[in-house]
Amino acid sequence: MLNLVKSLINSRIITEDSTSWGEGFGRGLPIIHQESCLADCPKCENTCPTGALKNKVINPRGCIFCHSCLRSCPVNAITETEIPVISSSVSTEQLGQELRSKLKKDCRRSLHIRYVDAGSCNGCDFEINSVTNPVYDIQQYGIDFVASPRHADMLLVTGSVTRNLEIALQKTYEACPKPTLVVAVGACACGGGIFKEAYAAGGGVGKHLPVDVYVPGCPPTPALIIKGILAAIDRG
């Protein structure tokens, strides 16, 4: 007991804010520098395992950040850049843009998130767990994870939406009070990742729910996940 108290007293505050995250945003998004790229070279496109790289343009929602393209380029015309979070410009939900803006406005100071694993590898989920650790401490933004979708303003979804979780995801969404913000976390949730659409994998959250913000990365770092969540409520 004494040691416990001593150890507590001796510890410093280690929570970081978004300006001091020491580690950047992880393995970045490839970027092709058109000026040095060879006109008829098909190498990077042929090597890309997901089809995210087409006609020398990279779709950040389809990329799994394997960096095969970087290594394949004979003239080093591909480098990496920070992964962007992508706000979806058209939300397909019938509830209308107005209500969603109201939600964003109302939630400016506090947000409750229900997390759903819709078939991930557990990597994204561990990083979501990390955002609650004392270092990132997402609660410092007035944001918290809740146990029930009935209490949630936002669904945070990982995984490509497998056949066996499709219904559970739909039901969770339906149980949320509307309007609900949806954030897709990770390459699998953004575009199906390497599994794409198959007998068991669902091609990403966007095929099943109206997504507000995509956070690419495999997995995205905790810092990027927080950035994505804040972007969804216009605090990014």
């Binding site: 007991m1 040691n3 416990l4 150890s7 507590l8 280690i14 020491g22 580690e23 992880g26 393995r27 395992p49 799994i64 950040f65 394997c66 960096h67 095969s68 290594r71 997390y115 759903v116 694993d117 078939g119 991930s120 590898c121 557990n122 990597g123 994204c124 989920d125 561990f126 990083e127 979501i128 767990n129 990390s130 609650t132 650790n133 004392p134 270092v135 990132y136 994870f145 146990a147 029930s148 995984g159 490509s160 497998t162 056949r163 066996n164 979780l165 559970a168 969770t172 990742g193 390497i194 599994f195 659409e197 198959a198 007998y199 068991a200 994998a201 495999c218 997995p219 770092t221």
Partner: protein, 525 residues
């Protein structure tokens, strides 16, 4: 009875044929074809010689050779030997005598083969579906070759199947698939009397992504990306296991530097998992000090991973043939590890000094040694019950033979033992890492692989933080994967968990569950 080695007896039999004996480092691989009629006898004989089941799977070669084939892989502890039995089955009515009555550890593997291939293990005690859910139509088998990976399979009406548990005053408590916390999906059905759990059954495979099917037909280099994405927190151990299988197929030896770097990755992975789990087990009883200190230390390790490899989960490093990217900041990391070691000591000594923590964990969720052995439990869970089995020493792979370390074990098999097991294993991991950093020599990172011979099989394995991860690969034409089977540590341990819960109260389940730290993604694939 059998003083002669098993394979000699069998290879002299007219119906059996010894396909191949090869050695891979210190490990000998024996492949043996046996007719269906002799299969049970062969398995029985192996069992009597003390072999344990490593993996079991099937292939559909109807288009090529008009057959289904079942492969069963055993290891003979103490003899550094892996034995693969190959049984050829009829294409029209594929069935064989189930080995589950002899080797209970095979029971999920055989059910999975039935779901995925329609191969019937005759005499299996429980042929309910396992890997496909109730809404999956009968007679559609996704791993058969005439099933295209992108088939849209309709849903039929069906429901969860549980073995019935009845009695006055019994309640059923359904939980999941979506859980309250930030954890993976699975459905649990508790049968309770008051607070006491009488029985626990689970429906899993919610995160089934069709990984094995997705790898089929891919070039082995692309399939490595799939292997790396089976599980986030076992990325390194899965990718090394896969790479080892491919390297065995290609018959190449990996350069020493690459082997050492792989060891560093594997042990860093073990460390962040064990430390994360030590903290998480505190979450099972609400001991906040341990939760937050464990999480902080784990975060520190994740950042060390980032500095070492450029990825918090060590992805993008391992390729068949070696390592594709060198490690950075090694001297800095190795000295920081010493601080982490001290910090862990401090945290765990405070944890174990808490009487309420020890009281909650002691005698909770006991896994008896006999059950662990019979069901083939692996990893820290098995070792905490006194089963001294660790593939790093039992079937040495990579560079592990170069390092001095111990395999700790416990006796009681309760939650506290599993906590202590992780603490003691972490100590050994620090020792291995220091040796690996110290002796990391210069040299090539990878070798070029020659073309893979088609329709050959190989097995690659690692001892991950959760136990044995076994990857079985059959090559196809043009360096492509014909069949890929992943048996993760969680695949071995999931059937064990429900047996440790009855007799405990419902609120202890999260604690017991956390002490096993089973991964759903690894099992479901």
């Amino acid at each position: 009875m059998c003083n002669q080695p098993f394979w000699k007896v069998f290879s002299e039999h007219p119906d059996c044929d010894l396909i191949k004996i090869t050695t891979n480092g210190a490990v000998r691989n024996i492949k043996l074809g046996v007719p269906v009629s002799k299969f049970s006898e062969a398995v029985d004989m192996l069992k009597k010689q003390g072999a344990f089941l490593v993996t079991m799977t099937a292939t559909d070669k109807r288009q090529q050779f008009g057959i289904f084939t079942v492969y069963t892989v055993f290891a003979l502890p103490g003899e550094n030997t892996i034995i693969e039995l190959k049984v050829v089955l009829d294409a029209e009515q594929p069935s064989y005598p189930s080995i589950t009555p002899l080797i209970p550890a095979a029971h999920w593997l055989e059910r999975e083969m039935k779901d995925m291939f329609g191969i019937i293990p005759v005499g299996h005690p429980d042929l309910r579906r396992l890997a496909v859910h109730g809404d999956w139509p009968e007679d559609i088998y996704p791993l058969r070759k005439d099933f295209a990976a992108n088939t849209v399979v309709p849903r039929v009406t069906g429901k969860l199947e549980f073995c019935s548990v009845e009695g006055e005053g019994l309640f059923q408590v359904p939980v999941g698939p979506i859980h309250a916390g930030i954890i993976e999906p699975g459905h649990f059905r508790f049968f309770t009397f008051g607070e006491d759990v009488i029985d626990l059954q689970a429906q899993l495979f919610y995160t089934h992504r069709g990984i094995e099917k997705a790898a089929e037909g891919k070039h082995y280099a692309d399939a490595a990306l799939v292997a790396e994405r089976i599980c986030g927190v076992c990325s390194a151990s899965h990718s090394v296991a896969y790479a080892q299988a491919i390297e065995t197929l290609a018959g190449v030896a990996v350069p020493k530097r690459a082997l050492y770097i792989r060891t560093i990755l594997l042990e860093m992975e073990r460390l962040y998992n064990h430390i994360g789990d030590i903290g998480n087990m505190c979450a099972g009883i609400g001991f906040s000090f341990g939760i937050s200190r464990g999480a902080m230390l784990k975060e520190r390790l994740m950042r060390m991973n980032m500095r070492l490899t450029g990825h918090r989960y060590l992805r993008g490093m391992v390729i068949p043939g070696g390592i594709q990217k060198d490690v950075a900041n090694t001297s800095e990391i190795s000295s920081e590890l010493k601080e982490v070691e001290q910090e862990l000591k401090k945290i765990t000594s405070i944890m174990l000094a808490s009487q309420s923590l020890v009281d909650r964990m002691r005698t909770t969720g006991i896994l008896p040694k006999e059950v662990a052995l019979a069901l083939g439990a692996v990893g820290p869970a098995a070792r905490a019950s006194g089963v001294k089995r660790d593939l790093r020493t039992e079937l040495p792979y990579g560079a592990y033979a170069d390092f001095a370390f111990k395999i700790p074990t416990q006796i009681e098999g309760d939650v506290l033992s599993r906590l202590n097991q992780r603490i003691e294993e972490s100590e050994q991991t620090f020792a291995i890492l220091q040796q690996a950093f110290l002796h990391l020599s210069e040299g090539a990172l990878a070798v070029e692989l020659p073309n893979l011979p088609p329709y050959r099989t190989a097995v690659g394995y690692t001892e991950s933080a959760r136990g044995a991860n076994v990857h079985w690969v059959m090559s196809g034409p043009d360096n492509r994967i014909f069949r890929y089977m992943v048996r993760s540590a969680s695949h071995c341990n999931w059937p064990v968990l429900p047996l440790c819960v009855p007799g405990n109260i419902v609120p202890d389940f999260p604690l017991i569950n956390k002490s096993f730290e089973l991964c759903y993604a690894c099992l479901d694939r």
